[in-house]
């Protein structure tokens, strides 16, 4: 034991030296503050936007691809970036750990990327670091889940969450044709997300317009297994249902499995997000799935395109305004048997 303090000192010395070496080999380049370029945006004639311009380095980070829609987001983003010879896309590992996602954005800042396209796991938690990126002169494009501050992003690409609920509610009202005692059930996605709250709000308002209300509401987690579990519980709780709106077609796979196991057929189902297999079901018309409400999985891809335009100081084609808009909100149409062929090509495979 008497040898221990001495050896401890020796080892501590080695550790100290190695940490010094580590610091020594980090080049202390002063943080070169990129001055935000105030060069005017050139109004490019329509159609010329796709011509190669200056090289654009874009960092992309999204939550873990634990369900089809999120996987489709990343796939579509990568595919879009490949179309442009002047875009270099750096894709960070998808993660549901905000701590890790923050460090990914920090890494992008260290790499001095030109733009960051960010689909945050939790918008509020990533706001501070996104603002830091903007302050460093990097163009941040926020996708799908909104930050808590206007200073955190130059442009935001959103789906229309409330609109999804409104579309679904309006469709169910129309289908139930004034049946005032109808039982309408809702299978929501992750309840802690503001987007889920917006969808439910829109759904409630649209139903109220025709005198209906949500009689039973359960929440799943966007995954197949969680959908199956939530739907099984719902079917136990409600002996008779007229219509179900399920927020998400990925969890919908599980929802339909639970419905099939229960053998019940007295209702119809409206989906959400718009996966290809749900659209194929709608087209075939041999399941209870009668319609779905689109929530585009192309948001990341659009984010990349907008980031490229912003960095190259080009304007958005087909708009008179020369600057790229601050918010781009995509539409949430209802897909039924009548118009399914129009949407099937851009649907995502879950």
């Amino acid at each position: 034991m008497s040898a221990r303090p001495a050896r401890f000192l020796k080892v501590a010395g080695i550790a100290g030296l190695s940490s010094l070496a580590l610091i020594a080999c980090t080049s202390n380049t002063p943080e070169a503050e990129k001055t935000s370029d105030t060069g005017a945006t050139q109004a490019v004639a329509g159609g010329k936007n796709d011509e190669p311009g200056q090289k654009v380095k874009i960092g992309f980070s999204a939550p873990a691809a634990d369900h089809g829609w999120m996987g489709a987001i990343t796939k579509a983003t990568q595919a879009e970036a490949k179309k442009f010879s002047d875009v270099e896309l750096i894709v960070a590992e998808g993660t549901n750990d905000v701590n890790l996602q923050i460090s990914q954005v920090e890494t992008f800042i260290n790499q001095k990327v030109d733009a960051i396209v960010l689909l945050p796991f939790d918008g509020a938690a990533l706001t501070a670091v996104a603002t830091k990126a903007m302050d460093a002169g990097i163009t941040v494009v926020n996708v799908d889940r909104e930050f808590g501050s206007t200073f955190a992003a130059r442009t935001t690409v959103l789906g229309d969450n409330k609109g999804m609920g409104v579309s679904a509610g309006t469709y169910i009202c129309k289908e139930l044709k004034g049946k005032t005692d109808a039982v309408v059930a809702e299978i929501a996605g992750i309840d802690s997300l503001p987007l889920t709250q917006a969808r439910s709000q829109g759904f409630k308002e649209a139903l109220a317009d025709c005198g209906l209300k949500v009689s039973n509401r359960v929440a799943a987690e966007f995954t197949v297994e969680s959908g199956e579990k939530a739907a099984a519980n719902l079917l136990q709780a409600a002996p008779k249902i007229d219509a179900i709106w399920n927020h998400d077609d990925d969890q919908g796979v599980g929802v339909m499995a639970a419905i099939k196991n229960s053998g019940r057929k007295e209702f119809f189902v409206v989906g959400g997000a718009g996966s290809a297999n749900v659209m194929r079901d709608i087209k075939a018309g041999n399941t209870l799935m009668r319609a779905t409400v689109i929530y585009p999985s192309t948001q990341g891809a659009d984010g990349v395109r907008l980031a490229r335009l912003l960095v190259q100081k080009k304007s958005l084609g087909d708009l008179v305004e020369v600057e790229v808009p601050r918010t781009v909100q995509l539409y949430a149409p209802v897909v039924t048997k009548d118009n399914v062929d129009q949407y099937l090509p851009t649907a995502f495979e879950s």
């Binding site: 034991m1 750990d97 701590n99 260290n110």
Partner: protein, 364 residues
Amino acid sequence: MSEEVARPETATAAGDKVQDAVPATASTQSTTRQPGAPRNGGGAASILRTGLGRNVGLVVALVLLCIVGVITAGDTFATSANVLTILRLAAVVGVVSIGMTFVITGGGIDLSVGAMLALASVWATTLATQQMAADYGMIFMVSTALLVGAACGLVNGLLIAYGKIVPFIATLAMLAGARGLAEIISDRKTQIITVNPFLDLFGGSFIGVPVLVWMFVIVAALGWVLLNRTTFGRRTFAVGGNAEAARLAGIKVQRHTVALYVLAGLCCGIAAVMLMARTTTGSSTHGQLYELDAIAAVVIGGTLLSGGRGTIVGTVFGVLIFTTLNNVFTLNNLSISAQSVAKGLIIVIAVLLQQRLAARATTP
């Protein structure tokens, strides 16, 4: 760092040696020489037998990773900004892993660390805590997080030590319960922190190094001292090595077990404060799967999953290896799925290396 000296090497040995592991007086400690302690003049081999020797595999792995980073992304990897990015990421999981090291060394396991972190972060940002912090100072927020973490740990410890529930099961129950409670308290909404002094202090820097990193360093240093230089630490090894022998030797095993879980919970409380500062939010989704990250880091570090042997230094290296790996992957824009495969490989390779080197270090 010479952690294995004067400590039973294996669980069975712990049974025979437990008398040494319980310091009766200071004099017994300074005269007994244990197996594994280096003889004088062993040359390179003796270095291998020191605490550093046990961590050689880890040091080599980390240095290799850094070399790969420098070669592949030199202009970015070897900047102070990037090193601080790695350290900031490592800090939160690191503090959780220090607590986990104590629990695992003591022969237990704690699966509820992530959930306890979430609950502490939510409790400290809701239930009027923020209002009190705004009115009377942020100490209310910080102490709330620490207390909630420690209280969860206390429940774990009582269930395990006095309720005789297997650690795996008891902490599994806490994993579900704490996260569920966090969801109830927060109504599953992300709670935004508005107490600026809190954000300024924990989000700031001290002598150019982020406060979060200082916290990690301090927790790791205190953990090292506690495990290797105190009676508490020696009792931890004894309890983890052979609980029955420890009891016969006069250690209050049950009370000690409770203390270990409280310590792990307290570490989660500290980590919650760190993550709250980093994300400016408290949320029931914080800390997902941290239990696996922490266990992986602890095991890679060379702590025995069966208890009785543990190393804080190894754990710190384990955390750094994971975070550096992630950083190198991101910098090089490697395929997302390949990252997971590489992580699995690194765990296996690190542990294999660890075992080889440890075996070589212990054979005289």
